[in-house]
């Protein structure tokens, strides 16, 4: 006796096979794919005019209709450690935009700690109010997450992925929607996929 669940599952498998679907396994040509433009850091030019005490960073804030992130460039002090600079970049992100974009992190949230492991994962630890004062909504949540992730990965070659922590601990989600148990890869476009 075969259970209906199994029969149904096998039916689905057969459907997969029956519809000519080696392609599914190999190519997944149908799969949604958001092309991620390769971030680049403006090259530091030789010459006396170059300011070696500061560096530019690209901060990612919410666009006016909250459907994509847009960049704002800002200057932060150069330090001996990129981790210090990464911290500063997140703090600038928390301060919010200056040129008409919308903030992605609720006011009052503080960065507790930021460290980067040997695999290029940045652990970014915020105070509890990142969760408790977050306005919610999948859209708002995605903007918060990827503004942090993109800001770090776009400016620091050493960081490839970002894991968001709250009060030192792993979180399931920030506002009830997006799985935050795993480090996020950057996603430079939150635009619709079709």
């Amino acid at each position: 006796m075969v259970s209906p669940g199994l029969r149904r599952f096998l039916g689905l498998l057969l459907l997969v096979l029956g519809t000519g679907v080696v392609g599914f396994l190999l190519g997944r040509a149908w799969a949604p794919h958001v092309p991620a433009p390769v971030p680049h850091i403006p090259p530091v030019e030789d010459g006396n005019a170059v300011d070696t005490t500061t560096r530019p960073v690209r901060l990612f804030f919410a666009g006016p209709s909250a459907d994509k992130l847009q960049e704002e460039e800002r200057t932060i002090p150069r330090t001996a450690s990129f981790v210090q600079e990464a911290k500063r970049a997140v703090e600038e992100l928390i301060k919010g935009p200056q040129n008409g974009l919308n903030p992605t992190i609720p006011p009052g949230v503080k960065l507790r700690q930021l460290y980067v492991d040997g695999r290029g994962i940045a652990y970014v630890d915020f105070t509890r109010n990142l969760q408790t004062t977050h306005p919610g909504g999948s859209g708002g949540e995605l903007l918060t997450i990827y503004s942090i992730v993109d800001t770090l990965t776009a400016n620091f070659d050493e960081i490839q992925r970002v894991k968001i922590l709250v009060e030192g601990s792993e979180i399931l989600t920030l506002a009830g929607h997006i799985d935050a148990r795993h480090p996020f890869k950057p996603r430079y476009s939150l635009e619709r996929i079709r």
Partner: protein, 517 residues
């Protein structure tokens, strides 16, 4: 021993006693007066006390029922059949007794009013919850439809034989003109069918006739219209373009190989049809979700919409709906898909409203799980636990490898279907709501992980937008959202089943006319 039996019976009796809960009010306008009836919910259905039915019908309460003019309604507690004279009609739910008084479902009220004032004169507007007596008697009382494999049947119930004509106005539009037809107020709105063949039926009352405009979304095909009697009704059959004659069109090849070996192509594996839909109302309990500026809570709005959607699906598609919550309670995210998996739901729809800070963002968007997320370790392990395949006889490493492959294949299919469902829902929201269409997107949604079925999440409006928050407070907008989601569900279901060649077909060996009853 006997006493124990009595006690046990009494205990069972207590458990089985119907629970009453306040439901609402119905206004009955009769003979220049207004009478407000208070209704109560009993086991999820709306009831009125028989005493109040007697008042508005000027009827006489009997020991076992009600007499209105010379019509006697005989009621039996807990039996849905009501004996009227020498016939019986079936209520949607049985009468119940409270403190010795009968309570009846509201359609009984309509029946009793018809006994007093005549059938066709009693009007009931569900939306405004008003019953009134019409100035003009209607003779077209209802419309129902059913999709068969190669045709859709529309049936119009009438109160007397009427002559009619079916005109093909264009490839996409037919009109059924019923001479002397008067539409019941229940037939004033466009009826959305969206079964892949018929899009909608639009009733219109015109001078001396009733017109039903039938909008097709699959062009061409034979049509026929005929009348049946006892009760009087008009039947319209619309065939798919390829299907030439009734019921003998070639069927799509079934997928199950056992079917191919067998000789009867119609023995379709029914368990592949869509039977159960899981609806997840986002957040709940201590998880409020997003907040509107005027204080409207996401958890309340989405539950309201989800319940409306459930009703539409149950009423119009007649299939099972599993809810992850039906009240304001906290349900952990992983429990939500577990509920759907346990119920063997065929697909999963999570309903949310959106928010974005300091933004005028408005409109709707739909999401499905991104491929990246489905590849994640968490998903893989969730899936292995859910995988309904026993691979006994293989070494554990082989089992793992095979399971991973099977799971990958199933998921690839789910992902494809999920993106299709997201697309269909978006299109329907776009048709009904006049706000920004923000597109289909994909992201690693916690609530969609571990779903052993296609799964999508719909953000139907922005609660952070003052205007949308206002709209979400009213009934009409929530109805429209539910209607759009329903239409998407119906479309996806029809498409899915058509693709598998699974649409229900008339019973073999019976004529189409016979099958109609």
């Amino acid at each position: 021993m006997r006493r124990l039996f009595v006690i046990l019976t009494a205990m069972v009796g207590i458990v089985l006693l119907p629970k009453f809960a306040w439901a609402g009010e119905i206004e009955v306008l009769f003979e220049g007066r207004v009478k407000v009836l208070k209704t109560e919910l009993v086991n999820g259905r709306e009831y009125v006390p028989l005493v109040q039915v007697a008042q508005v019908t000027r009827g006489k309460i009997l020991r076992d029922g009600l007499q209105v003019k010379e019509v006697t309604f005989r009621l039996v507690e807990d039996q849905a059949g009501v004996i009227v004279g020498d016939t019986t009609f079936l209520l949607s739910a049985p009468p119940v007794k409270r403190r010795g008084i009968f309570w009846v479902p509201i359609e009984f009220l309509l029946r009793a009013l018809e006994a007093r004032y005549g059938e066709g004169w009693v009007y009931w507007n569900k939306a405004t919850r008003v019953v009134w007596l019409g100035k003009e008697q209607y003779n077209l009382r209802m419309l129902r439809h059913h999709a068969y494999t190669d045709y859709t049947r529309i049936v119009i119930g009438a109160l007397k034989p009427l002559s009619f004509r079916l005109d093909e106005e264009s490839k996409a539009r037919l009109s059924l003109r019923i001479e002397g037809g008067v539409l019941s107020p229940m037939l004033s709105d466009t009826i959305r069918i969206n079964d892949g063949l018929i899009e909608s039926v639009e009733p219109a009352q015109e001078q001396g006739e009733a017109v039903l405009r039938i909008h097709r979304d699959a062009f061409g095909g034979l049509t026929r219209a005929f009348a049946l009697s006892n009760p009087d009704r008009i039947v319209v059959d619309l065939y798919r373009a390829k299907a030439g004659t009734a019921g003998v069109s070639p069927r799509p090849q079934p997928v199950d190989p056992t079917e191919r070996r067998g000789s009867a192509p119609r023995a379709v594996p029914v368990h592949l049809a869509i039977r159960t839909i899981a609806i997840d109302a986002g957040h709940g309990g201590r998880d409020t979700g997003a907040l509107g500026r005027k204080g409207l809570k996401e958890k309340e709005v989405v539950l309201d919409i989800a319940l409306r959607l459930r009703r539409l699906i149950q009423e119009r598609l007649g299939i099972r709906v599993v809810m992850t919550r039906t009240e304001d309670v906290f349900v952990p995210l992983e429990e939500r898909t577990a509920i759907a998996n346990r119920a063997k739901a065929d697909f999963f729809i999570s309903v949310h409203v959106n928010a974005a800070p300091k933004s005028r963002a408005r409109g709707f968007e739909t999401y499905f799980l991104s491929e990246k997320a489905s590849d994640s370790v968490a998903r893989a392990s969730a899936i292995r636990e859910n995988l309904p395949v026993d691979l006994g006889g293989l070494r554990p490493t082989e089992q793992e490898a095979l399971k991973a492959i099977l799971w990958d294949m199933a998921n690839t299919l789910y992902l494809k279907e999920s993106s299709e469902l997201a697309q269909i829902l978006l299109r329907e929201l776009d048709k009904i709501l006049k706000v920004d269409n923000r597109g289909v997107k994909s992201a690693p949604f916690f609530v969609l992980m571990g779903a052993n079925m296609p799964a999508v999440l719909a953000e139907v409006a922005f609660i952070s937008n003052a205007k949308e928050e206002r709209k979400l407070k009213g009934e009409a907008y929530k109805d429209r959202v539910a209607e759009a989601l329903y239409t998407g569900v119906a479309r996806f279901k029809a498409r899915y089943e058509r693709r598998l060649g699974l649409s229900p077909s008339p019973l073999p060996g019976r004529s189409a006319e016979a099958a109609e009853r």
